[in-house]
């Protein structure tokens, strides 16, 4: 049963994962659970950095250490466990506190594809963020704290070609058919008298043909208003020769695809108009392809459209019609790809690069996904901490759906100030609970007013709750946070699917977790 798994992995950007080198800072439960998913997923190499020794407390919340590890280096024990899970992974460990490494050797981090920084306090988060941003190393923060926690991605720019969205309109060009599609449609008699043939005409053919008929009697335009759209659907229904013609029912249901606007979506337009699309020798492959697409292809062969995706959805049809229709779409996609390839090559030459330095595979994937391109950008942690988007913050604080998550967000920052002042986290030592609560409250209120918000908005309950957590790392919470963090890591490394933007704040009390865009 191994083959199907390998197959799925390959689909998933296995090569990118195998090439990746990931550094984990701190291997408590949050770090261990994050890296475990990557090891299982076939990551190339990992380096675990942790300076602590395994203590009795670790046995209660970390699956990757056991009694025999007591007193030993935690990084070493976790590393050995991970190696057992997948012997193909190159696993290394460094017995050192990440906080020290951040201070003493910032250049250490530049060797990695990505750094996962777990359980760091605010001050160190800011530092590692600067180091990674400068060295162009991707960074993911993960932190568990009692029943709350957070995950945050920090990368200057992350372009995604294979964004694989769940729901996306098929690229059928029903309202803008190219000559070959028109010719194919014309080759089929939609008024065929044989009832079996009639109910096996694909809806693409029906819609293109009926759109043409409509346009002829409506001075060249397609249905625009609600009434016109309804009239068009009625026209379709009137051509049904029986009740059970699924192809006509599908045509009625799919008519919205005909009514969709032609050309390029606003989202895509934003990317095509991005200043990065003005390329030079430092431009990345992604932006070279964007430039080839918008400056050349859309203006020339595309006639206002990006390259055709080339796949069609399933639809009622005879096998012959369907396969032939697929071929019409496939060959248009192939032609678009060849045109794009030429543009990419000549642009590469213009900027002094090897014209074949972007692989056919990559260009093909770009063409297939051209309508779905996405670019994610992340502000620096320091920026977010010092000057968050105030209006969003205000909104979150007063919105019932968000108030608990944003409360946790603020309090997680406040506990770091607490730790900086008092050398321990609030509630960490039993006897001082009441005092800790009032100290934390003062810190949280001053933090909020520093940011320009009204501090009294945080509830006593939430402050008590954070103190009750006492900086504990619960295994189930760590696994949740680690699951999210590892998933974002995989998206960043494989460049597939869209990573989250903003800070994910986990709410383990009622699971009303939120993404905060600050």
């Amino acid at each position: 049963m191994a083959e199907p798994k390998i197959k799925y992995d390959r689909h998933f950007g296995q090569a990118a994962l195998e090439k990746a080198s990931v550094c984990l800072l701190n291997c408590g439960p949050t770090g261990s659970e994050t890296i475990k998913n990557l090891v299982l997923g076939g990551i190339g190499s990992i380096t675990v950095v942790d300076g602590s020794k395994v203590e009795v407390g670790d046995l209660g919340n970390n699956f990757m250490v056991d009694e025999t590890s007591l007193g030993e280096s935690k990084a070493k024990c976790v590393c050995a466990f991970l190696q057992e899970l997948n012997d193909a992974v190159k696993a290394k460990f460094i017995e050192e506190f990440p906080e020290k490494l951040i201070e003493s050797s910032p250049s250490f981090f530049s060797q990695f594809t990505l750094v996962i920084a777990t359980q760091l306090v605010e001050e160190k988060m800011i530092k590692i963020d600067k180091i990674c941003r400068e060295a162009n190393v991707k960074l993911v923060f993960a932190r568990s704290y009692g029943l709350t926690g957070l995950v945050r991605v920090s990368v200057k720019e992350h372009p995604v070609i294979e964004s694989k969205p769940d729901h996306f309109l098929d690229d059928l060009r029903l309202n803008n058919p190219w000559p070959e599609l028109k010719r194919f449609v014309e080759s089929i008699d939609i008024n065929v008298s044989d009832p079996v043939a009639h109910k096996h005409i694909p809806y693409v053919v029906i819609l293109v043909k009926m759109a043409e008929e409509w346009a002829q009697s409506h001075s060249g335009t397609l249905p625009l208003t609600r009434e016109e759209k309804k009239a068009f659907k009625d026209l379709l229904r009137s051509r049904m020769s029986g009740f059970d013609e699924d192809n006509y029912k599908e045509a009625v249901d799919a008519s919205f695809k005909l009514f969709a606007p032609r050309g390029i979506s606003l989202n895509l337009m934003r990317i095509l108009n991005d200043t990065c699309a003005e390329i030079d020798s430092n431009s990345t492959d992604f932006w070279v392809m964007v430039a080839a697409c918008c400056n050349e292809f859309v203006a020339q062969e595309g006639a206002g459209e990006v390259p055709l995706e080339g796949s069609i959805p399933d639809m009622t049809s005879s096998t012959e019609h369907y396969v032939n229709l697929q071929k019409v779409y496939q060959s248009k996609a192939e032609a678009d790809f060849l045109a794009m390839e030429k543009h990419v090559q000549s642009l590469l030459k213009n900027i002094g690069r090897d014209p074949s330095s972007i692989s056919k595979m990559t260009i093909k994937s770009f063409c297939k996904n051209a309508r779905k391109l996405t670019v994610c950008r992340y502000q620096m942690i320091e920026e977010e901490f010092n000057s968050p988007n105030l209006s969003e913050l205000q909104k979150y604080l007063t919105d019932e759906e968000y108030s608990m998550a944003v409360g946790f967000y603020i309090l997680l920052r406040a506990v770091d100030r607490f730790a900086a002042n008092y050398n321990c986290f609030p509630g960490q030592f039993d006897g001082e609970m009441d005092e800790d609560i009032s100290r934390l409250k003062t810190l949280a209120v001053s933090l909020l007013s520093d940011l320009g918000c009204n501090g009294s908005i945080l509830t006593e309950d939430l402050i008590n709750e954070i103190c009750r957590f006492g900086a504990s790392e619960l295994h189930a919470v760590a696994t949740f946070i680690g699951g999210i963090a590892s998933q974002e890591v995989i998206k960043l490394i494989t460049k597939q699917f869209i990573p989250m933007t903003g800070t994910f704040v986990f709410n383990g009390i009622d699971h009303k977790s939120q993404l905060l865009l600050l």
Binding site: P4, D314, G483, I484, F497, M500
Partner: protein
């Protein structure tokens, strides 16, 4: 047990249906790591069968068996807490689970039953055997044709009808692989909720968490409402009988009952087997009861609760299910008293 001292783990290698109901009643909470609607339905019915209602139709606390359920598909998943009698049970919200599209690989390799199984065999197993290493491209009509033809061969071999080119398309393009990170997230949510129920350390999820990591990250909590007429978690279907009605007649009635459609039912009362369809030993032991009146078998109480386990047919689909039935005997004193006379 090696990693965490003090925990006791007992594995049971069998079908969930093979365990007697008592087995499940011994636990405080049931956490579900199941992979099908049918299996969830079954355990849900089992847990709900323990639930008893008082005379005011309020669930009796001590009979509530909480369940924590989770499931994943690719980058999506859900976790939920079911407190039978208080929050919606699996059956109350069965509409949340549209027909499934993924199949276990062993089914494909060994016991194909449907056309889709044949297609997936050709697509997932045969393709790699023959083309070893070459990725399958679902948009290439020639490759799709190849899978279609292999699926037809397989279907002929197994005498399964229904493989068409169009179905091949539909099945092949809908494959949803399991992803380690999604499994970690959902299992963590389930573990956390289970811990919260056991320890009472925090309020629990109320009552359905959905998670989607395809585009960015989305989590949502929905508070679904209980279906007060639910056949599974409600107070039970009331069946009025003559005291002379035999067990055999009763079992026949269950099959014709418009709400139940329960065929080949086995019947238990207060943990006692009245009639068992299987295994053969038990069937033989209980067969003689069929001719006795249910009234007598239930100890001549005016009313009581019995559990019937059998096959229910809904929309041509057969599922094994357990149903709680409130039996009341006509013309016997105290008939309005719906106390189950159970709990002895």
């Amino acid at each position: 047990m090696e990693r965490v001292t003090g925990v006791n783990i007992v594995p049971h290698f069998c079908r969930i249906e093979d365990k007697p109901l008592d087995f499940y009643n011994d636990f405080n909470i049931i956490a579900l790591g199941l992979d099908s609607v049918e299996a969830r339905s079954y355990i849900n019915a089992v847990a709900c069968s323990f639930l008893e209602y008082d005379e005011n139709d309020n669930p009796k606390e001590e009979t509530i068996k909480p369940m924590v359920d989770g499931g994943t598909e690719g980058f999506k998943g859900h976790a939920r807490v079911i407190i039978p009698g208080k929050t919606p049970c699996f059956e109350c919200t069965i509409w949340l689970f549209p027909p499934q599209v993924k199949f276990p690989l062993c089914t494909l390799a060994e016991t194909p039953r449907t056309a889709a199984h044949c297609i997936e065999y050709a697509h997932l197993i045969k393709w790699d055997e023959v083309h070893g290493g070459k990725a399958f491209d679902p948009d290439d009509p020639d490759q799709m044709q190849w899978v279609y033809k292999e699926a037809v061969k397989r279907a002929e071999l197994f005498g399964i009808p229904g493989v068409t080119y169009s179905l091949t398309q539909g099945v092949v393009k809908n494959i949803i692989p399991a992803i380690a990170s999604t499994n970690a997230i959902i299992s963590a949510a389930c573990a956390l909720e289970t811990l919260k129920i056991v320890s009472g350390c925090s309020k629990t999820l109320s009552n359905y968490l959905t998670y989607n990591g395809v585009e960015g990250l989305h989590t949502k909590v929905t508070e679904f409402v209980k279906d007060k007429d639910c056949l599974v978690c409600g107070p039970g279907v009331l069946i009025e009988l003559d005291t002379s009605c035999t067990l055999q007649k009763f079992i026949e009635q269950l099959e014709e009952h418009p709400k139940l459609h329960l065929s080949k039912a086995s019947v238990t009362h207060e943990g006692k087997n009245l009639y068992m369809q299987a295994p053969p030993v038990l069937e033989e032991m209980t067969r003689s009861n069929l001719l006795l009146s249910l009234f007598e078998l239930m100890g001549k109480v005016p009313s009581g609760t019995v559990h019937a386990t059998g096959t229910s047919t809904k929309n041509d689909k057969k599922t094994s299910g357990s149903r709680k039935l409130r039996v009341a005997f006509k013309g016997v004193n105290g008939m309005t008293d719906m106390d189950t006379a159970g709990g002895a």
